[in-house]
């Protein structure tokens, strides 16, 4: 019960723009060096020191960028959906700010996942692009991110824009699950799975450890970016309130 009470209090406090601003001010100076360091360790370890793949040689190393980017894009989209739901139910200002802060970095990660996938696909599959189920669902996820950003940009009133983007993200999260299954079904209809990622879950620890570290690093960078963007957005939105006038 104590834990629950602490959690709800924390949740309500973070919902207040002023508290969030102070909290992130304390957190960020610690978070961004850790995020940068973790990413650097993961990437250098993966790109330079991890063993070669017995089948793909060195070209497999792009997964140390590709997999964290794809995972981050997916996580960001779910986070946007959760923020959208919170905003629909409680009309929390911070949730709107969060959606606006998450969308750009998530879209960039989805684009990075697609581009690195294409670069890896050329030597491995012999082509930059195939209409594979995973590639297609990632492409649609990028479109969904762009849709949310376009909607935020199109609506002049920031609160209305945030709520509209929240509703769209909630619908999108439900839809993205159906998209995933439909695309897998569609792909198996047209061609057998001639292309498979070698390795997969049978990855040895020397490769898995740097991969997990770089995933953690990218997620932390995502968090840093979201906090930074949210702070800038907060200052702009609350520019007429007393606490911002006191600050600047």
């Amino acid at each position: 019960m104590m834990v629950w009470k602490t959690l709800t209090r924390w949740y309500h406090q973070l919902g207040s723009p002023r508290y969030f601003y102070r909290f992130s001010e304390v957190l960020l100076p610690w978070l961004w060096p850790i995020a940068l360091l973790t990413t650097a360790v993961g990437l250098v370890w993966g790109l330079a020191f991890a063993p070669e793949d017995y089948q793909q040689g060195n070209s497999y190393r792009i997964i140390f960028i590709h997999v964290p980017a794809a995972g981050g894009a997916l996580l960001g989209y779910v986070a946007m959906g959760v923020a959208g739901l919170v905003n629909l139910v409680w009309r929390m200002k911070m949730a709107e700010v969060m959606i606006k802060a998450i969308a750009p970095f998530g879209a960039v990660l989805a684009a990075i996942a697609l581009i690195t996938g294409a670069i890896w696909g050329k030597p491995t599959w012999g082509t930059y692009w195939v209409w594979d189920a995973r590639l297609t669902s990632m492409l649609i996820m990028l479109f969904l991110y762009l849709g949310v950003m376009a909607l935020i940009n199109a609506i002049p009133d920031p609160r209305q824009a945030g709520r509209a983007a929240g509703l769209l993200s909630v619908v999108g999260v439900i839809n993205v699950v159906i998209v995933k299954y439909s695309v897998e079904w569609w792909q198996s209809l047209h061609q057998g799975s001639t292309i498979k990622l070698t390795g997969g879950s049978t990855m040895p620890a020397e490769m898995l450890t740097p991969l997990l570290i770089s995933m953690l690093g990218i997620y932390l960078l995502f968090a840093v970016s979201v906090l930074w963007r949210a702070r800038a957005e907060l200052l702009w939105r609350e520019r007429k309130s007393a606490w911002v006038k006191e600050l600047v």
Binding site: L88, A150, A154, R163, I174, N175, Y181, S182, L189
Partner: protein, 221 residues
Amino acid sequence: MSFTATMQRELLLAWRRPAEIINPLFFFVMVVALFPLGVSPRPELLATLAPGVVWVAALLAVLLSVDGLFRADHDSGALEQLLTAPQSLYVPVLAKLAAHWMLTGLPLVVMAPLLGYMLHLPEQAIGVLFIAVLLGTPTLVAIGAIGAALTVSLRSGGILLSLLVLPLYVPVLVFGAGVVSYAAKGLPVSGVLALLGAMMLASFTLAPAAVAAGLRISSGN
């Protein structure tokens, strides 16, 4: 009560301006007619393209028609009246979606088999095309209405609406076109048709709530 009233109003309004029913249908036929001209009139090639072409054209026709779903009501202020009324928005929105599908979706359903025939689709697939479009277009209307509700107060709604809604249309397109290709190859189709029906029921029960929320957001309540 509010369901039949809204339905009657929608049908009466459409009856007085029949061009709005006819235009999406013309659009549908014209887009499909462009493909043989642009690709090739060879029957075997057209037959393989047919499911996708008919579905993409139907999807775009629904998308274009759905853009105006709330615009007239928004401009005239009728939407504000609906929003301030002391009752749930769910039922009137459901009636509006149903009426809109009857007016713009149903003509596409009737026209689809003919277009399939013109694209040399094998005969056993034409009936399936009819059922697939019948089950799929309500889903398209319901999902498109969410986007229309969110963009109704914006001046340049049209192109934004397609950016928002087209990615959400992917499952319907995949299953709808897929089931027709299945039928053309003589494979069993009932499972996929059941999926299309499930998506229709799910979207028609859930979407009105999302549309109502979207309309409230757009009107600033």
